[in-house]
C-alpha cells in the first residue's frame, strides 16, 4: 500500500467518523427540540381568564382582590352575546314553521360551540362534570373553538368516486338577515375582552394534582409515582447488586459455577423489559402476594430485578479496577478480608459503582413495560410514603402512553401529554447530573 492510499483511507475514515457524530447530533436535536418546544407549552402559555378562574376556584391560588373585577369586565364583554342569542330565540318564535326548522339545528350548533368556548351561560345550573363548568383555558384552544363558532364545517361528497372535501361556510352567511347576524362580528372583535389572555407561567403544573382525568391541573401524582418507583427500585437493587458484585469478585472462587453465574447475569441484562413485567405480575402479585392489588412495592421490586444485572456488572468492573496493591497493602497491615473490603476496596471503587447506579436509575425512571402490570394506573391520587406498600400509582412513562392512546378527549389536552414527556426527560437528566456531580466530588476527595 502506498503512502498516498494510506493517507486517503485515513482521511476517509476520519470523515466517516465526523459524519456519524454529526448525524447523532442531528438526531438528538431532532428529538429534543420538539420535546422542549411542545413540552414548554404546558408551563408557559397564554392563559385566559378561565384558567385564572380554575386556579382560584379549584386550587385556591391567584389574586382574590383583582380577580372579581377582571371577571366582571369579562362578563360585561360577554353580556351582548347572550342578549343576541335571546333576541334570536324570540325571533325564531315569530318565524314560519318551515324557516324555523331550518334555523333550529344550526342555532343549536352555535349555542353549543359558544358553551364550549365560554363555559355555561350565566344563570344556567352548574354542570356535574367539571370539564363543562369552564370555558377554554388556553388562548390557542380558544382560537380553535372560536373558529368553530364562526364557521360551520360540512363535508362535500358531491364528486362521485372521490373522497369528500371539507367545506367551511361562515355562519354569518347562514344567518344573514336575522338577529343573530351581528353575533359573529361581535365575537371576532371582542374575543380578547371576553377571554382576557395573559402570558402565564404555570410552574405548578408539576406540583398540582390532576383533576377530571388530566383536563385540569398538573401531573404531581405521576411525578411522585415515578420518583417512588425509581427510588424504591434503587433501594432494593443497590444493596443486592453491590453485595453480589463483592461476592463475585472477592469471595467466589473462579471456576465453572462463577462463570456460569456471570453468563446468567449477562443473559438477564438482555431479557426484554416486558418479560420482567409479566414475571413481576406472576411472581410478586399472584404468587407471593406482596400486596393485594398492583402497588408501588411490586413495581419497585420488578424494576429492581430489571436493573440488577447492569448494576452487578458495573460494580464488578469498578471493584476489579481497584489496584491490587491497595488490597495487598491493607492485608499486609493486618486488616481482615471484610475490613479491607469495607475500608479500602469499596471507597476506591465507589465512583465506578455510582456510574452504574446513575445509568440504571435513568433506566428505571423511564421504563414502562415492567410497571404496566405491577404498579401503574391511569388515574390515582398522590401517595403518602406508607401507602406505597399496598397502593398503585400513576407514573410518567405509563401515563404518557395512556393519555396518547386511551384518553377520550386527548386532542383537547395534548399539552399535558407533552408536558409529561418534558418532565420525564428532565427528571432523568437531573438524576444523571446529580449522580455525575456526586461522583466527581467523591473521586476528587479520594485523590486527596
Amino acid at each position: 500500500m502506498t503512502l498516498e492510499t494510506r493517507k486517503l483511507l485515513d482521511k476517509a475514515f476520519s470523515g466517516l467518523g465526523l459524519i456519524a457524530i454529526g448525524m447523532m447530533a442531528a438526531a438528538l436535536l431532532l428529538i429534543l427540540t420538539p420535546i422542549l418546544w411542545r413540552g414548554s407549552k404546558a408551563f408557559i402559555f397564554k392563559g385566559t381568564i378561565e384558567h385564572r378562574r380554575v386556579m382560584l376556584e379549584e386550587f385556591d391560588r391567584g389574586n382574590t382582590d383583582r380577580f372579581p373585577a377582571e371577571m366582571e369586565k369579562a362578563k360585561a364583554a360577554r353580556e351582548p352575546i347572550y342578549q343576541i342569542l335571546a333576541d334570536f330565540k324570540a325571533e325564531m318564535k315569530t318565524m314560519e314553521r318551515s324557516t324555523r326548522g331550518e334555523y333550529k339545528s344550526a342555532y343549536r350548533e352555535v349555542e353549543q360551540a359558544i358553551t364550549v368556548l365560554l363555559g355555561p351561560a350565566p344563570g344556567e345550573r352548574t354542570p356535574v362534570l367539571m370539564r363543562q363548568r369552564y370555558g377554554q383555558m388556553r388562548w390557542d384552544r380558544t382560537q380553535i373553538k372560536l373558529h368553530e363558532v364562526l364557521f360551520s364545517e360540512e363535508w362535500d361528497y358531491s364528486i362521485p368516486g372521490a373522497m369528500g372535501v371539507l367545506v367551511e361556510t361562515p355562519r354569518i352567511e347562514q344567518f344573514a338577515g336575522t338577529k343573530l347576524e351581528p353575533l359573529f362580528h361581535y365575537m371576532e372583535e371582542h374575543i380578547d375582552e371576553m377571554m382576557r389572555p395573559k402570558t402565564t407561567f404555570y410552574w405548578q403544573f408539576i406540583t398540582d394534582k390532576s383533576k377530571d382525568s388530566h383536563i385540569f391541573g398538573g401531573i404531581w401524582p405521576e411525578v411522585l409515582g415515578t420518583l417512588y418507583l425509581t427510588l424504591g427500585a434503587m433501594l432494593f437493587a443497590i444493596p443486592m447488586g453491590v453485595i453480589a458484585a463483592i461476592y463475585l469478585c472477592e469471595y467466589a472462587k473462579e471456576g465453572r459455577v462463577v462463570s456460569f453465574l456471570r453468563i446468567c447475569i449477562s443473559t438477564l441484562a438482555g431479557v426484554p423489559s416486558i418479560v420482567f413485567g409479566l414475571f413481576g405480575l406472576a411472581f410478586f402479585l399472584n404468587t407471593i402476594h406482596v400486596s393485594d392489588s398492583k402497588s408501588v412495592l411490586a413495581g419497585s421490586l420488578t424494576l429492581s430485578l430489571l436493573i440488577l444485572p447492569t448494576l452487578i456488572r458495573s460494580a464488578e468492573e469498578a471493584i476489579l479496577a481497584v489496584p491490587r496493591t491497595y488490597k495487598e497493602a491493607a492485608l499486609s497491615l493486618g486488616a481482615g478480608r471484610w475490613h479491607t473490603i469495607l475500608t479500602v476496596i469499596l471507597p476506591a471503587s465507589l465512583p465506578g459503582i455510582l456510574t452504574g447506579i446513575v445509568i440504571s436509575m435513568g433506566r428505571a425512571a423511564g421504563e414502562t413495560a415492567p410497571i404496566i402490570f405491577t404498579a401503574a394506573v391511569s388515574v390515582g391520587a398522590p401517595l403518602k410514603i406508607w401507602e406505597t406498600l399496598n397502593q398503585p400509582t400513576p407514573a410518567l412513562p405509563w401515563n404518557i402512553y395512556n393519555l396518547c392512546t386511551e384518553h377520550e378527549a386527548v386532542d383537547e389536552i395534548r399539552h399535558v401529554q407533552y408536558g409529561m414527556v418534558l418532565t420525564l426527560v428532565v427528571i432523568v437528566l437531573l438524576l444523571n447530573m446529580a449522580a455525575i456531580l456526586m461522583r466527581a466530588r467523591i473521586s476528587k476527595k479520594l485523590r486527596g
Binding site: G161, M163, S293, N390
Partner: protein, 272 residues
C-alpha cells in the same frame, strides 16, 4: 432514646398502613374507563380521603384481576363468560354485575369518506375480507383498511357476537389495544373503518348508519340500533351496604351519575 423514636415511627407507620384500607381499585375495560374516571373524580371530590385508582387494561384483564382479588371493581364492556364465572366460583369469589350505562358500538370511518350507511352484512363482509374496496360500497376506489380491537377487549367480544356472528376475522384486519387507538387510527387514515364506544366519537371521525339507524342515545336505548350492549362493573359479592365501595357503585343510579354518563357520551340506564 433513639430506639424509642424508631419504635414510635414503626408503630405509626403500621397503624397508618392498616388504616389505609380506604381505597377502591378499578381495573378493566377501556370503554368504561371514561365513566369510571368521571365517577372517581365525582366521588373523590365528596370523599377526599378515599383514593380511587383506575387501570384501563381491557375487560379480560379486569375479570382476571377480580379473579385474583387484586381489584375491587372489574369494569367490563361485556358480560363475564361462563369460564370466568366458574374460575371465580372455584376461588370463592362471587361476581355481581352492576350495569352502569348502555353503549352503542358505532362503526367509524374517516369524515371524508362519502359512504353514509352500511348494513350489518356489509360490515361483516368487510371484516371477513370479502369486501376489499370502498368502490364496492359506493365509495371511492380505495382499499379498505379494517381496524379491530384485540381479543382481550370486551368491545371486540360484542362486535364479534353481534356483527361477525362469531365468524373469523380476515387476517388482514389490524388489531389495536384501545378505543382511543382505534379513533386515532381512523382519524389519520382516510380509507379506514373501525369501531369504538359511543363516548369516543367526536367530529374527527364519522359514525355510520347501520341498517338505516344512526347510533344515538335514543336508538341505543330502544334497541333499534343493532350493535348495542350494557357496560358493567363487577364486584365480588354485593358491596357492604354503606361502605365506600357501595356508595361508589350506586353513583350511576343517582341523577348526577346519569348526567355524567350522558355528558361523556354514553347512554344512562334509566332516563329521568
Amino acid at each position: 432514646m433513639k430506639k424509642q423514636i424508631l419504635a414510635l415511627i414503626i408503630a405509626t407507620t403500621v397503624a397508618n398502613f392498616t388504616h389505609a384500607a380506604d381505597t377502591i381499585v378499578i381495573d378493566g375495560s377501556t370503554t368504561v374507563g371514561p365513566i369510571a374516571k368521571a365517577f372517581a373524580e365525582y366521588f373523590m371530590t365528596a370523599n377526599p380521603d378515599i383514593n380511587i385508582t383506575i387501570s384501563e387494561s381491557g375487560s379480560g384483564n379486569g375479570a382476571k384481576s377480580l379473579l385474583n382479588a387484586s381489584c375491587n371493581i372489574a369494569a367490563m364492556s361485556r358480560p363475564m363468560k361462563d369460564s370466568e364465572f366458574k374460575a371465580c366460583a372455584e376461588k370463592g369469589i362471587h361476581p355481581v354485575a352492576h350495569v352502569v350505562a348502555l353503549d352503542g358500538l358505532p362503526i367509524l370511518v374517516h369524515p371524508s369518506n362519502p359512504v353514509q350507511e352500511l348494513s350489518l352484512e356489509q360490515v361483516r363482509k368487510i371484516y371477513r375480507g370479502e369486501i376489499m374496496n370502498w368502490k364496492e360500497l359506493g365509495g371511492p376506489d380505495k382499499k379498505i383498511v379494517a381496524i379491530s380491537r384485540d381479543t382481550n377487549s370486551g368491545t371486540f367480544e360484542t362486535f364479534n357476537k353481534l356483527v361477525m356472528k362469531k365468524q373469523n376475522l380476515s387476517a388482514k384486519v389490524e388489531k389495536v389495544g384501545s378505543n382511543g387507538a382505534i379513533r386515532q387510527r381512523v382519524q389519520t387514515t382516510p380509507a379506514a373503518i373501525g369501531f369504538a364506544g359511543l363516548g369516543f366519537v367526536d367530529k374527527t371521525v364519522k359514525a355510520l348508519k347501520i341498517n338505516g339507524i344512526y347510533p344515538t342515545a335514543e336508538t341505543v336505548q330502544t334497541g333499534e340500533y343493532p350493535i348495542a350492549r350494557p357496560l358493567f362493573m363487577y364486584t365480588d359479592k354485593y358491596p357492604k351496604l354503606g361502605s365506600p365501595l357501595y356508595q361508589f357503585n350506586t353513583i350511576h343510579l343517582t341523577e348526577d351519575g346519569q348526567e355524567i354518563v350522558e355528558e361523556i357520551g354514553f347512554v344512562p340506564v334509566t332516563a329521568y
